[in-house]
C-alpha cells in the first residue's frame, strides 16, 4: 500500500512530463478520429516530420536561450537571411552546395557573435538586441535578394530539406529495410542506455523512480519509435532531416543534462547572481549561447530553403513565435532556469500536429491562430497552477 502511495506521489511530481505526453497523444487521437485516419497515414506522418523540422530545430536552440533567462526574436529573420545567402552563393557565385552549407553555418555563427556581443558584453537586454536583429536581418535579406526570389537549388542541397535516405528495398518491399533497421537500432540503443543509467544510479545508491514507472516509460518509448518506424517505412523511408533532428536532440539533451556548459546555463537562468559568485563566466557563456543559437538558426534556414527549393525575402516570418511557443508549451519557465530539450520538441510537435490536423480538417487560418493561442495559454496556465500547488518558489 505504501509502495503504491509512494509511486503515486512520485507520479504527482512528474505530472508535467506525463501531462505533456498525454496531451500530445490526446491531440493525435483526436485528429486521427476527426480526419478519418488521415493523420496517422504514412505519408502524413512523413510530411509532419519534414514540414515541422525547422521549427523543431529552432526550438532546440530557443529552449537553451530561454533556460538562460534570455529570448531570441531574431531567428525568423536569420532563417530568411541564411536562406538568401545560400541562394546567392549557390546560384550567383556558383559556390559548391556543400561549401555553401558550411559557409552559411559560419554566417549563423557570425550573426550569433554580433548579437551575443551586445547582450553579453555590452549588457543590452536580449529582447532589445534580438528585436533589432529581427529588423536588421530582415533588411539584409531583402538587400541580398534585391527583393527577388531565388530558385531552383541543386538536388544535393534540396535533399537536406526534403530528401530521404536511399531505399534499400529497391522501391518494391512493403517496408523500407534501412528505416526498419535504423528504427530497431534506435529502440535498442535507447533501451540499453536506459537500463545502464538505472543500474549506475542503483550502484551509487541514488533513490530512483519506481520500477513500474521506469518500465512503462521504456515500453512506451520503444512502442512510439517502432510505430513511427513502421509508418515511415511504409512510405518513402527515413527523411534526411529526421536524422539531423535526431542527432541534434540526442547531442543537445546530453549537453543540457551532463555538460558543464549545459549546467552553467541552468545556473545562470536559475540565479544569475549566485552563478557569478560561484565562478561561472557568465558573459562568455551568454555569448556562446547566442553563437550556438545563430548556428542552429542557420541550420533551420538551410533546411527550410532546401525544402521549399526557394530563397524568399519573406521566408521565416513568425518562426520565432512558433519556436518560443513550442518551448513554453514544453514546460520552460518564463523566468529562466527550467526547461528541457525534449519538452521543447514535444511542444513543437503539439503545435505541428495542431497545424497539420486543422489544415486537413479545412479549419481556416484565423481559427488555427486562435486555437494555437489558447493552447499556449492553457499549457502555461497549467504549469503555473501546478507550481503554485506544489509550493515551489
Amino acid at each position: 500500500m505504501s509502495a503504491f502511495r509512494s509511486a503515486l506521489h512520485y507520479l504527482a511530481g512528474q505530472l508535467r512530463e506525463i501531462g505533456l505526453f498525454i496531451a500530445l497523444i490526446a491531440i493525435i487521437l483526436f485528429f486521427q478520429i476527426t480526419t478519418n485516419g488521415i493523420t496517422l497515414k504514412p505519408i502524413n506522418v512523413s510530411n509532419l516530420i519534414v514540414q515541422n523540422s525547422y521549427i523543431l530545430i529552432l526550438a532546440i536552440g530557443m529552449v537553451m536561450v530561454i533556460i538562460a533567462g534570455h529570448i531570441d526574436l531574431s531567428v525568423g529573420s536569420v532563417v530568411a537571411f541564411v536562406g538568401a545567402m545560400a541562394g546567392v552563393m549557390i546560384t550567383q557565385w556558383h559556390v559548391p552546395w556543400w561549401a555553401a552549407i558550411v559557409l552559411c553555418l559560419g554566417i549563423g555563427a557570425l550573426v550569433g557573435m554580433w548579437q551575443g556581443f551586445w547582450i553579453a558584453y555590452f549588457g543590452i537586454p536580449a529582447f532589445i538586441v534580438t528585436l533589432a536583429g529581427m529588423l536588421t536581418f530582415r533588411g539584409l535579406t531583402q538587400i541580398a535578394l534585391q527583393n527577388q526570389q531565388i530558385s531552383p537549388f541543386p538536388d544535393e542541397f534540396r535533399a537536406l530539406g526534403s530528401g530521404f535516405l536511399p531505399d534499400l528495398g529497391g522501391g518494391t518491399s512493403p517496408l523500407e529495410p534501412l528505416t526498419v533497421v535504423l528504427g530497431i537500432l534506435a529502440t535498442l540503443l535507447l533501451t540499453v542506455q536506459g537500463i545502464r543509467q538505472r543500474a549506475a544510479r542503483k550502484k551509487h545508491a541514488v533513490e530512483d523512480e519506481p520500477f513500474a514507472w521506469f518500465l512503462s516509460k521504456l515500453i512506451f518509448t520503444a512502442v512510439l519509435i517502432l510505430l513511427i518506424t513502421y509508418l515511415l517505412a511504409g512510405y518513402r523511408g527515413t527523411p534526411v532531416v529526421l536524422i539531423v533532428l535526431g542527432l541534434l536532440v540526442v547531442v543537445y539533451s546530453a549537453v543540457m543534462h551532463n555538460s558543464v556548459f549545459g549546467r552553467h546555463i541552468y545556473a545562470i537562468g536559475g540565479n544569475l547572481n549566485a552563478a557569478v559568485l560561484s565562478g561561472v563566466k557568465t558573459k562568455r557563456l551568454t555569448f556562446l549561447l547566442f553563437v550556438n543559437m545563430g548556428v542552429i538558426a542557420a541550420l533551420a534556414g538551410l533546411v527550410f530553403t532546401a525544402q521549399l527549393n526557394l530563397a524568399n525575402p519573406k521566408a521565416g516570418d513568425g518562426f520565432e513565435l512558433d519556436a518560443i511557443a513550442a518551448v513554453f508549451i514544453g514546460g520552460a519557465a518564463v523566468t529562466g532556469g527550467i526547461g528541457t530539450v525534449t519538452g521543447a520538441i514535444i511542444g513543437g510537435l503539439i503545435i505541428g500536429i495542431l497545424n497539420n490536423g486543422m489544415s486537413i480538417l479545412g479549419v481556416g487560418t484565423e481559427f488555427q491562430q486562435l486555437i494555437k493561442g489558447l493552447v499556449l495559454l492553457a499549457a502555461v496556465a497549467f504549469d503555473v497552477y501546478n507550481k503554485r500547488r506544489s509550493g515551489v518558489r
Binding site: 551509487h204 547572481n273 549566485a274
Partner: protein, 513 residues
C-alpha cells in the same frame, strides 16, 4: 478575558504532507509587547500568516478572536480593516516612489480618483513625526537606509489606524543603533495604546522590551513566559526553543594556528555608482592557517564590500591594493581566479546571491567546482550525487534526498548547502559573510562547529558578523571596521563587546566633530 486583544485558539494548519501548526494557542494582552520566538521552521511565520489573513479563514482549523469578537479574515485587506497590520521581514516598499507615496500606497489620499498631493504629504509628515523620522516625505525610498525604511513601514501601519502591529524580525537587517531606535519606537507606540507582536531571534531584544514571550517549537506552543514575573534569562528562553539545555552557545575550540596564509594590503574600493566615495580605505588584514578571524563593523562600514571586492572584484570600482597568498602576490580580478587561488566567499544573502533556489541540493553543492566532477566538459552525474550525499550526511542537512529543491529548505539547511558548496571547492581561505543570519539557535551551534572544523583542517576562516557575541564566541582575532577603515586588530584575550564597539564607531564620531 477583557484584557486580551487577541486570542487564537487551537489553530491547526496543514500543508500537503506537513502539519505546520498543531493546536497552537496564543493570547495577547491589550497594550502589551508580545514576543514570539522559536527555531526556524517552528511555525511562527505561518501563525502570523493565519492571523493576518494571508492564509484565509477556512484553510486552517481553530478560532481567532480579536477584541473579543470572533473574526474570519479572508485576506490581508480584512485584517487591516480590523486594525491588524503585519510588517514582513522583507520590506514591501517601492524604491522609486517617495516616502509619502509608499505610506499611502493602496490607501491613496484622493478626491474622485485624483490624488490630493498636499494632503498626502502633510499626513505623511505627521506620521513620520510619530515614528521619529525627520526626512522630507517626498524623498524617494531608495535614497534612505534600511533602518529608516523600517520606520516608514511602521508609519504606513499607523496610517491604517493599527491596533495590533505584527513585526516579523524587525531588526534582522538593522545595525545596533537603528535597532535600538526601533525598539524605542515600539515601546513608545505601546504608550499610545498600540499592541505589538514581535517575532525575533534576538533574545536580548526580547528581554529588553517584551512583556510576554510565547515559545513555539515544531508547530506547537510550548509555553508563554511572563518577562516581568521571574528573572527570565536568555538561557531559559533558548531552553524552551530547542527543548534542551544549551550548555554553551559556542562549541569549545582550541585553535592550532600556523603560518600566514592570506594577506590583503592597502585595499581601497570605491563605490560602483558614486565613484568619488571610498567604501573601503587602505584596509590591511591577514589570516593564518587554522585561524578564525572576525570582522566587526556596523551596517554600512564596508564589511561585505571589502569581502566581495577581494573575491573576484565582485563589488566596487577602481579597486586598488595587493593580495598575498602564502607570501606570493596573487590577482583575484575574476571570481574564477579567486576560486582558483583557493578563496571562497559565502554570501550574507543566501537567497539572492548564494543559491539557485529552483535547483536541487546536489546541483547547488557542485556549482562552484563543477569541473572537479567533469571530464572533458562532461559531468559525472553519479559522482555528483555521491559527493552531495556525503555532504548531506556530514553537514546534517535535513532533507529526504539530495534531489530536494534548495528553495524548500529552511534557512539553516540552506546555509549548510552554501557551506557544502564552498567546502567542495576545497579552498584555503573561506570568507563567511553573516553565516548565521536568520538561522535558529540549534543550527547556529552546528554552523559554529563546522567553522571550527574548517579551521582545524588548516584553513583560514574570516567571519563577518553583525552579532558581536558571536564574533567574541568563535573568533581567535577580530578586526574592527568603521567607515571602510580597519580601526583595530584585537586578539581574543582583549576582545570585549564594549572595547570593539569603541573602535567600530571611532571614525564616525570624528567625522561629526
Amino acid at each position: 478575558m477583557a484584557m486580551n486583544i487577541l486570542e487564537m485558539r487551537n489553530i491547526t494548519k496543514t500543508f500537503p504532507g506537513v502539519k505546520a501548526l498543531q493546536d497552537v494557542s496564543l493570547e495577547v494582552q491589550r497594550g502589551h509587547i508580545h514576543a514570539i520566538c522559536g527555531e526556524n521552521g517552528a511555525g511562527k511565520s505561518t501563525l502570523m500568516k493565519v492571523l493576518s489573513g494571508v492564509y484565509p479563514h477556512g484553510t486552517y482549523d481553530g478560532e481567532i478572536a480579536f477584541e473579543n469578537e470572533t473574526v474570519e479574515f479572508k485576506s490581508i485587506n480584512d485584517s487591516e480593516a480590523a486594525g491588524v497590520v503585519i510588517i514582513h521581514q522583507e520590506l514591501a516598499l517601492s524604491p522609486y516612489l517617495s516616502i509619502a507615496e509608499n505610506i499611502f500606497l493602496g490607501n491613496e489620499q484622493e478626491k474622485r480618483g485624483w490624488i490630493d498631493w498636499n494632503k498626502t504629504n502633510l499626513e505623511a509628515s505627521k506620521l513620520l513625526a510619530r515614528v521619529g523620522l525627520k526626512d522630507n516625505p517626498i524623498t524617494k525610498i531608495m535614497d534612505i537606509g534600511v533602518g529608516k525604511q523600517q520606520l516608514v513601514e511602521i508609519a504606513k501601519a499607523l496610517s491604517k489606524e493599527v491596533k495590533l502591529l505584527i513585526l516579523d524580525e524587525p531588526t534582522a537587517a538593522l545595525n545596533d543603533e537603528d535597532s535600538a531606535h526601533l525598539l524605542d519606537l515600539i515601546k513608545h507606540l505601546q504608550g499610545q495604546g498600540i499592541t505589538s507582536i514581535m517575532i525575533s531571534h534576538k533574545l536580548n531584544e526580547i528581554k529588553a522590551i517584551a512583556d510576554e514571550v510565547t515559545i513555539i517549537r515544531d508547530g506547537k506552543t510550548i509555553e508563554t513566559l511572563d518577562m516581568h514575573a521571574d528573572q527570565i534569562s536568555e538561557e531559559r528562553i533558548i531552553k524552551g526553543m530547542v527543548g534542551r539545555d544549551l550548555e554553551s552557545r559556542y562549541p569549545d575550540h582550541t585553535p592550532h594556528i600556523g603560518e600566514e596564509i592570506l594577506r590583503i594590503e592597502d585595499w581601497t574600493v570605491y563605490h560602483p555608482l558614486d565613484h568619488g566615495r571610498a567604501v573601503v580605505k587602505d584596509a590591511n588584514i591577514s589570516v593564518r592557517a587554522g585561524e578564525i578571524v572576525g570582522i566587526a563593523g556596523l551596517m554600512g562600514a564596508g564589511r561585505t564590500e571589502l569581502a566581495m571586492s577581494v573575491f573576484g572584484h565582485s563589488y566596487g570600482h577602481n579597486i586598488s591594493g595587493k593580495v598575498f597568498k602564502n607570501g606570493v602576490e596573487i590577482k583575484t580580478n575574476t571570481v574564477a581566479a579567486a576560486i582558483g587561488h583557493g578563496l571562497a566567499y559565502a554570501t550574507e544573502d543566501r537567497k539572492r546571491y548564494g543559491l539557485n533556489l529552483i535547483e536541487d541540493i546536489k546541483r547547488n553543492i557542485s556549482a562552484a567546482a563543477l569541473e572537479k566532477l567533469a571530464n572533458l566538459g562532461w559531468v559525472d552525474a553519479n559522482k555528483e550525487t555521491v559527493v552531495a550525499e556525503g555532504y548531506r550526511k556530514s553537514m546534517n542537512i535535513k532533507a529526504p534526498t539530495v534531489e530536494a529543491l534548495a528553495g524548500k529548505l529552511s534557512g539553516g539547511n540552506q546555509q549548510k548547502v552554501v557551506l557544502s558548496k564552498w567546502m567542495y571547492s576545497n579552498p584555503d581561505v573561506l570568507i563567511l559573510d553573516e553565516p548565521t543570519r536568520g538561522i535558529d539557535v540549534g543550527a547556529k551551534y552546528e554552523i559554529y562547529g563546522i567553522i571550527n572544523r574548517l579551521a582545524d583542517e588548516g584553513k583560514g576562516v574570516i567571519v563577518i558578523s553583525s552579532e558581536l557575541p558571536e564574533l567574541l564566541g568563535i573568533c581567535d582575532r577580530i578586526y574592527a571596521l568603521s567607515e571602510g577603515r580597519i580601526t583595530a586588530d584585537v586578539p581574543r584575550e582583549k576582545a570585549t563587546a564594549e572595547y570593539l564597539m569603541q573602535y567600530m564607531t571611532q571614525e564616525r564620531e570624528r567625522d561629526h566633530e
